[in-house]
């Protein structure tokens, strides 16, 4: 019968396609990195002399005590083929600094990320998948001296770049006020707030600031206004 033979052919074709797809799938399936996160030691890394250059000139803050604005941002080629001298997150960090004062510290990797966007994306994925914590260049601030930490980062693969997680691992911010800010290209906060809570279950985490990176770059004045409104809402 014609129908039955065609049916056999159809089932055969589907089975072959399925077999091919499944073998591709198996090839792609990789073990997912276990999520073990938290600062390594209670007080760690650079303490003492590591205060950044700018003197503390913090105004009165809701958290009390000094304010430290920590951020990581990448200049160079960006999403959508754009190129920035100053990274998107860096702009936001500066706006916060202009309003709040305090100390500004930029996380700089000991080995810079590639200029090329795609290469950075690939390296970031590997770091995250393998749980690699890249080294930070230079001295780090003594976070014990601050009660409020603004923590800024771009979203990479849905969370904080591993270089930021190096900082988070090195500094125990439990018990402090932590205020996140981020720029992204669509993921919003992604998983980064969960990650933050995993590192610092005992921190007081306030409502953060999030904006699309390209929107920051396209409208710096508007962004600054939004940052100020947000800070005002927090009591700054």
């Amino acid at each position: 019968m014609r129908g039955r033979r065609k049916f056999g052919v159809l089932v055969g074709v589907l089975a072959v396609v399925f077999a091919v797809l499944t073998s591709i799938n198996i090839g792609q399936a990789r073990s997912v990195r276990p999520a073990e996160r938290g600062p390594i030691a209670a007080h760690s890394a650079a303490s003492g002399s590591g205060a950044p250059a700018s003197a503390s000139r913090s105004s009165g803050t809701p958290g009390g005590g000094g304010v430290l604005i920590v951020y990581f941002s990448r200049s160079g080629s960006h999403y959508g083929g754009r190129n920035f001298k100053v990274g998107n997150t860096a702009h936001v960090a500066q706006f916060i600094h202009q309003r709040v004062g305090g100390d500004l510290y930029q996380i700089v990797p000991a080995v810079p990320y590639p200029e090329d966007y795609d290469q950075t994306v690939e390296q970031a994925r590997k770091e995250q998948e393998d749980g690699v914590h890249p080294k930070i260049a230079g001295e780090q601030p003594d976070t014990d001296r601050y009660s409020t930490i603004f923590l800024g980062y771009p979203i990479w693969w849905g969370e904080q770049p591993m270089i930021v997680q190096t900082f988070m691992q090195d500094h125990n911010l439990n018990g402090k006020t932590v205020i996140p800010f981020t720029t992204d290209e669509g993921s919003g906060w992604g998983n980064s707030l969960d990650v933050l809570k995993q590192y610092y279950p005992q921190a007081r985490i306030l409502d953060g600031f999030e904006k699309r990176g390209n929107d920051v770059a396209d409208d710096l004045d508007g962004t600054q206004r939004q940052v100020n409104d947000w800070l005002e809402g927090l009591g700054y």
Binding site: L10, N25, Q28, A29, A35, G158, G186, N191, D194
Partner: protein, 423 residues
């Protein structure tokens, strides 16, 4: 009512199994999972729309082909909206994955815009301008090109499948990927089965008669190779003639009688296909997909003492004559038929035969020109307006107008059943 709800719910929930599997595999934050799930929901709705396009006859008997097509179109559009939210709130690391996904979206968007205007009756049945453009385009574009354009949606679905396979955060979840591939292949398999295998089991027959009823209408009778007890009065088939003089496409036509061995169709010649019908010689082999139709099911559920009113416009009288053949004598039937010109009333003597055979249970009015509300008010009794079941068939705009008149006269929309001859 409950049937339609069940039907719609089933389609809406079709993405659920895959979405559940994906969400058990992903460890991401709720928002991230939601944005990814939106993409998956859109994809599954497109798959569901493909499944509906297969138009199984059992589903037609259950909810009716118009509902099937309405859901098919609604799912396609809802999927676009959801896909847009997915794209707008997501970030793609892999530029290729992003581009492939975007191509799929724009392809679907284009096909949807085109289909809403020119394939569905949503706009063309209601807006004169759209109807004009549609007619003009039909003259330029072969019907088959239109159908092939619509099938670009299959390309879009394939692109989305590639897109999913390219995303590392997704493709490393083996269980999900296998389930995803299985569902995709099952749906494409059903589609392929429908295109290449199912036609082998359609009803077949031979053209016994092909004659002109007037200058623009023909009657074609097909003797089925085997009588089919599934044929009910008022049903329609998608017909295809296996001969070179006419495009090898399937087009829907209503039965004019209720014979289960000889299927008679009334074909008004308005498009490429129907204009070629005179070239179909007696003896031509033909394939009939169907039967489709809900009228008989509805009338069967109607208590015998409830009067029936059939309103036909032009060739729309065909299924009403089929219903008349099935129900005359058993039910009180009023048939109202409006025709364009006097010589369009080609079934006058057939209708008189029904009247003569059932002097007090069948009466008919044939008129030249449309039924106005006043005319309907004069023709219908208070009992009919208050109780009767109405069956209205004709060109889309005429049906919509008649439905409006009936509702204004006080006929509840639940008692108005209709078929629009768009195509």
């Amino acid at each position: 009512m409950t049937r339609s709800l069940l039907f719609y719910a089933a389609a809406l929930l079709f993405p659920l199994p895959l979405v559940a599997i994906l969400n058990t595999q992903l460890t991401d934050a709720a928002r991230v999972r939601m944005v990814i799930s939106l993409g998956l929901i859109a994809y599954c709705w497109w798959l569901a729309a493909i499944l509906l396009s297969v138009r199984p006859t059992w589903l037609d008997r259950w909810v009716g082909l118009p509902q099937i097509y309405a859901l098919h179109g609604s799912l396609g559009i809802a999927a676009l909206v959801v896909a847009y939210l997915h794209i707008d709130n997501n970030y793609a690391h892999n530029m290729l994955a992003r581009d492939v996904g975007n191509w799929a979206f724009y392809l679907s968007l284009g096909v949807a815009a085109y289909s809403i205007l020119f394939m569905s009756g949503w706009l063309a049945d209601r807006l004169l301008l759209v109807a004009r453009i549609k007619r003009g385009l039909e003259r330029l574009l072969d019907h088959r090109i239109a159908v092939w354009l619509h099938r670009l949606n299959l390309v879009a679905v394939a692109l989305i499948a590639v897109h999913v396979h390219l995303i590392v955060q997704i493709n490393r979840h083996l269980v999900f990927m296998i389930a995803f591939d299985l569902v995709t292949l099952a749906v494409l398999g059903v589609y392929a089965w429908k295109k290449w295998i199912a036609p082998d089991s359609f009803l077949t027959g031979t053209v016994r008669e092909n004659r002109a009823l007037n200058a623009s209408t023909r009657q074609v009778a097909i003797a089925l190779d085997e009588p089919s007890s599934r044929i009910r009065p008022g049903d329609f088939f998608f017909l295809r003639f296996e001969t070179d003089g006419i495009p090898r496409e399937r087009h829907p036509f209503s039965l004019t009688g209720d014979d289960q061995g000889l299927a008679t169709f009334t074909i008004r010649q308005i498009g490429d296909f129907t204009r070629a019908v005179p070239q179909v010689p007696v003896g031509t082999r033909s394939r009939l997909e169907g039967p489709f139709g809900r009228f008989d099911g509805i009338l069967k559920e109607t208590p015998a003492q409830i009067p029936l009113v059939f309103i036909g416009m032009g060739a729309g009288v065909a299924p009403l004559l089929s219903l008349a053949a099935g129900y005359a004598g058993d039910r009180a039937i009023t048939l109202l038929w409006s025709v364009h010109r006097d010589d369009d009333a080609y079934y006058r003597s057939l209708i008189e035969d029904f009247e003569n055979a059932n002097p007090d249970r069948f009466d008919a009015h044939i008129q030249v020109g449309r039924f106005t509300r006043d005319r309907l008010a004069a023709l219908l009794s208070a009992e009919q307006i208050g109780k009767a079941q109405f069956v209205v068939v004709g060109p889309a705009q005429a049906v919509l107008a008649a439905q409006r008149h009936l509702r204004r006269l006080g006929v509840s929309h639940r008692r108005i059943h209709h078929e629009r001859l768009t195509m």
